[in-house]
Symmetry: C2
Subunit: 260 residues, 2 copies
DNA sequence: AAACGCGTCTCATGATGCGGGACACAAGAT
DNA sequence: ATCTTGTGTCCCGCATCATGAGACGCGTTT
C-alpha cells in the first residue's frame, strides 16, 4: 500500500491485508479480477491470497457468481473489537444527541490517513457507518489531528491535501493554524470544506488514558448550525462526548433485552 | 490452524490470520509472547507478524504495556461487513422477541467449526455477542449443521464431539439422527446439552438465495420453555426469523436517528 | 468463428519470510 | 547485591515459500 517503513519480512501479509482493504471502497462483492486490479497484484497472487482468506473465513465466496465478500471471521472479530471497545453502549447516547440537535451524528476513529466513521446515523453519502473521510477536510479529521498521539501528528504524512470544495484547506500552513485553533477552542468546524451547504462541528472523546481516541460530530446545514448557535452545539456535543467517555470507561453491564 | 487442504503458497498469511484469531478466545489485550505461545510460532515470527498487522491498523499496540489489541481496521471492516449483511437492522426485532418470550435471544452465523454469536443479549457466559459455541452441543449449531451449504455438511470434519454435560450428544450417529429430526421439525432443541438447567430453541434464517445463513435462538430455563410451550416458542422464533429475512433482504433505508 | 474476459491451476525460479540467537530491560528470587 | 526468569526488540544467513507467466476451459460479446 504505502511504500513506507516496514522494509521486508511481511510482503505476503501486507498484500493479503490490501486484499481485505479493497472492500473499504469497493462494493460489497468483488470478483477475483477486481481484487487483482485494485491491489495491483497479478491475478495468480490475488487469487491465491483470496483463497487463503476464504479458507480462514475472512472472505467468503459466492457459490454462483464466485465473487468475494467479507467473511464471517471478519464480522466476528469486528464485533468482538467493537464490544471490547465498549462501542455497543454508546449508540443510545448518540441517538439522543441527534434528536436534541436535529442533526446527523457520527462517531469516528482514526485509521492511518483517514477518519473512519464507526457509528453514524445518516444516508447522505458523506456520513454513515463504515465511511472513510479525509483528515484535512472534515471536522472529525481535524479533531483527530489536533490531538493525534505521538508518531501520528505529522501533517506531511497526509500527502497532498486534495481540495473537495473551494473552501477546503489545501495549504499545510493554513491547516496547521486551523488545528492550533481547534486545540485552543476545543472543537473543530467544517464549513462547506468537504461539501457545499454542510456544516459540521466535532469534539474529541477521551479514553481512560486521557488520550483522544474518537471524534464525535454533528452535521447539518448552516441554517441549523448558525454562527450564533455554534457555541450551543459545541456545548451539547461536548456534554455527549463526556457521557460517552463515562460509558466507555465503565465496566461491562448489560441487560437481557439490550441490543445495542 | 487446521492442518487441512491448502498445501503451500500462503503460510505467512495463514500465520498472520492465526495471530488475529488469538483474540477470539484470549482476552482483549495480548502480549507478544502470548501471541507466540497461542499461535505456536517462534517469537521472532509472531513479533514480525504483529508489527505488520499494526502497521496496517489490524492490530494496535498499547504505548505503555506494549501489548496488542484488535485495531481500527478490524473495527472498520467488521462494521462494514456487519452493515453489508444488513445486521444493524435486526437488533430491534431481536429485542422484541426477547421481551415477548422473556428469554435470551442470540443470532449466530457459522464460522468453520463453530457457531459465532453476532448479536446476543445476555451476560451469561454461554451467550452474548462475540462468543463461539460448538456446533454439536448447541441449538444454534444444530440448525447450522442441519442446513449446511454443500461442502460443510461433513460431520466428521467437526472432530471429536466433546461432552459438555452428560446429555451432550457425543455419538456421530446420534448427532446425524438428531440433525435429521431438526430438518423435519424445522427447529432445534438443546435441553441441557451444553449446560445444566438451560434449554434453547433455535430456528434457521434464510438469505436471498433461500440458504440458511443465520440461526436464531431463544434461551431460558426448562421452567419457562416447558415441553408444552415448545411449540409456542418455535412459532414465535420462526415469526421473528421471517421478519429478519425480510429485513435482511430489503434495501438500505435508514433514518437520521437510527443507531442500530 | 473469432475475440475477448473471466476463474482456475501448475510449476520453475529466486525473492522472501524464517527462526536461532543476541541484546537490553524489568521484576522477583536467592 | 547477584542471579534467574520473563519479557520486548532486532539482526542476518539459509532455504522455504510465495511469486507471476502462462495454459486451459468456459461463458459472453463482436
Amino acid at each position: 500500500m504505502e511504500k513506507n517503513g516496514s522494509p521486508v519480512g511481511t510482503q505476503a501479509v501486507q498484500r493479503a491485508m490490501s486484499v481485505l482493504a479493497c472492500f473499504r471502497d469497493g462494493g460489497p462483492m468483488l470478483s477475483a479480477s477486481d481484487l487483482a486490479r485494485r491491489t495491483e497484484l497479478s491475478t495468480s497472487t490475488a487469487h491465491r491470497l483470496a483463497r487463503a482468506l476464504v479458507s480462514m473465513g475472512f472472505l467468503e465466496q459466492d457459490a454462483r457468481t464466485s465473487r468475494y465478500r467479507l467473511g464471517p471471521s471478519m464480522t466476528e472479530l469486528g464485533q468482538l473489537s467493537f464490544h471490547q471497545r465498549g462501542l455497543h453502549r454508546v449508540a443510545p447516547e448518540l441517538g439522543q444527541l441527534a434528536r436534541a440537535t436535529s442533526a446527523t451524528v457520527d462517531l469516528a476513529i482514526r485509521n492511518g490517513r483517514y477518519a473512519v466513521i464507526l457509528i453514524g446515523g445518516s444516508v447522505d453519502p458523506e456520513s454513515g457507518t463504515g465511511l472513510r473521510r479525509p483528515l484535512h477536510s472534515t471536522a472529525l479529521g481535524k479533531v483527530l489531528l489536533a490531538w493525534a498521539p505521538p508518531g501520528e501528528e505529522d501533517l506531511a504524512a497526509l500527502g497532498p491535501l486534495r481540495a473537495q470544495t473551494e473552501r477546503t484547506i489545501v495549504d499545510p500552513c493554513d491547516l496547521r493554524a486551523e488545528i492550533e485553533r481547534v486545540r485552543k477552542t476545543g472543537y473543530a468546524l467544517n464549513d462547506g470544506e468537504s461539501s457545499h451547504g454542510i456544516r459540521t462541528l466535532a469534539v474529541p472523546v477521551l479514553d481512560r488514558a486521557e488520550q483522544v481516541r474518537y471524534a464525535l460530530a454533528v452535521r447539518s446545514t448552516p441554517e441549523v448550525i448558525t454562527d450564533a448557535r455554534i457555541g450551543w452545539f459545541a456545548m451539547h456535543a461536548r456534554a455527549c462526548a463526556r457521557a460517552l467517555e463515562v460509558l466507555l470507561l465503565s465496566p461491562e453491564e448489560r441487560r437481557v433485552t439490550d441490543f445495542g
